[in-house]
Symmetry: C2
Subunit: 311 residues, 2 copies
């Protein structure tokens, strides 16, 4: 078979994977490259892409390129639609936007939307492919009900049932952390040293809180420092705990699913963030399983194997 | 009697009031000047102050100067203590920090702290003087129980009983709005045109929400725009509604007081913000009375009339 380039092109980062397509239509990772995200490359998407994959093109010629993420949004290269939930892998595969650029056959995966009982909508781009990838990794995931948590700039909590995405909710936890950690009165000098016990102290506060402790509780990052209960170095971890605790608590109390009826929560994300969410869930006695984000993305492109099959 | 300069010197702004002390130890406003806040003037506090009041000094000579706000904090000019609640006007007056600068007799009002049952602390500087000022405006405020809401960069909700400050809670609503309105994915182009119905739409969402709708609801600012339910111009007002609704809901559900047992909520703040909080409270059938922030500050300094009396 041949090679394929699959790309997760999000707001902040472009992650490109050179893969080999096996006889069973599964992608095997060969090489990885990184470049600038959608909001970072000044709208010069074509140049950013071909600059990133230049080595591979020189070596292998015109390869098919499959992309997911914000690159398909209104602020990206080519806008793809949002498919309404419930949505299956086949429907996503069939709605990919295809075009030719510099002789390469390129396709962009659509986003997914859902609507709640209160009429509000939610949207995602990129995470749906990781969920499909996780479904593809083991045959027994195709049946049953699962809650998948994908932490990142925005956390997505995704309900999956019998191989379809049913519903999901977005929390702005990562973006809020960045803003509050770097630009608010709460933190004078952000620390990148993670302090587990400060994280748990923050998570405990919001996990076990009465109603409304986010609004009235986040200021404790500052007051705890003023009263010697938290050092400057611990404050960032405590803030992270507060925010992730609040996010997890909202997921535990969400009316859209019954978290306690599920065996465990699946977490797909970067290692450190995934561990933080797993810790917060375990503080409320909810088990979780962490899956590798890169493997899930590549497996998701394997799942969409129809448009990936090379003529 | 003589003239006195009273100053509310907060994080973002310095507001200076030239006042005349009446025979009854009440301050009458004569003139107003503005200058840079504590975090804006590069630690050159003395220069900023005397530059601001230069005209008054030339005209009236060495006047007493009374200051409140972040100027007395660890990031200000001279650090004053936090007095623990419950605290009375007399205790605040007696704990003012006094010093001489360029021949002027200067004093800085201390801050106030409180501790909750869960051992967390809270702190404020400047708002306590506005609360004392409101107490001073009418004799009947001296008796009974009141909840005072002071919106601003941080909202303070202050419980007052029989003329003393008993307890208070901080919400970071204003700072969160600034960060999310100007620097997040939620708003592409911030609008300063207030849209009442978008504000109410946002406030309704969080006021009537299930648990956790802050974490999982604030993303609706973006999804509502994607689905044509909110224009770019309306998005800032909707976000403001979401945040103020969440703040008000937390105050309504706070275990530290029973908001429904009070006649009304007293709001002391800038006109527009005060109206927003009043609207959100009225959406939950809670009446409120708005008091002018400048009058409250000046009246607060009048209340501390012992140290204000001029020898």
């Amino acid at each position: 078979m041949g090679n394929v380039i699959v790309i997760d092109w999000g707001t902040s980062h472009l992650r490109a994977y050179l893969c080999q397509l096996s006889t069973k239509n599964q992608l095997q990772l060969i090489d990885t490259k990184f470049a600038l995200g959608v909001t970072k490359c000044n709208k010069k998407f074509e140049a950013e892409l071909f600059n990133c994959i230049d080595d591979w093109v020189k070596k292998f010629g015109k390869l098919p390129i499959r992309m997911t993420g914000q690159i398909g949004s209104s602020i990206g290269w080519k806008e793809t639609s949002y498919l309404p939930c419930p949505v299956s892998p086949d429907e996503i595969a069939n709605a990919c936007l295809e075009f030719i650029c510099r002789g390469h056959d390129i396709s962009i995966v659509p986003g997914v939307s859902c609507q709640f009982e209160d009429k509000h909508h939610d949207v995602m781009r990129g995470e749906e492919l990781q969920v499909l990838g996780w479904l593809n990794l083991e045959p027994n995931h195709q049946q049953g009900k699962y809650l998948v948590c994908l932490p990142g700039t925005h956390t997505k909590w995704v309900m999956v049932e019998n191989g379809k995405i049913i519903l999901f909710k977005t929390a702005m936890t990562g973006e809020l952390f960045d803003l509050l950690n770097n630009q608010s009165v709460l933190i004078q000098t952000p620390s990148s040293d993670f302090n587990e016990s400060s994280f748990e102290q923050g998570a405990k506060y919001t996990l076990e809180s009465e109603l409304g402790n986010f609004s009235h509780g986040v200021f404790s990052v500052r007051s705890n420092q003023l009263f010697g209960k938290l050092s400057q170095e611990e404050a960032s971890s405590y803030l992270s705990g507060l925010l992730i605790g609040s996010d997890v608590r909202a997921a535990i109390n969400a009316s859209e699913w019954d978290i306690h009826s599920l065996n465990n929560v699946i977490i797909i994300g970067a290692d450190h963030l995934s561990n933080c969410f797993s810790t917060a869930l375990s503080m409320q006695n909810i088990p979780s399983t962490i899956c590798d984000a890169k493997l899930s993305t590549i497996s998701g492109f394997s799942k969409l194997n129809q448009p990936l099959s090379i003529s």
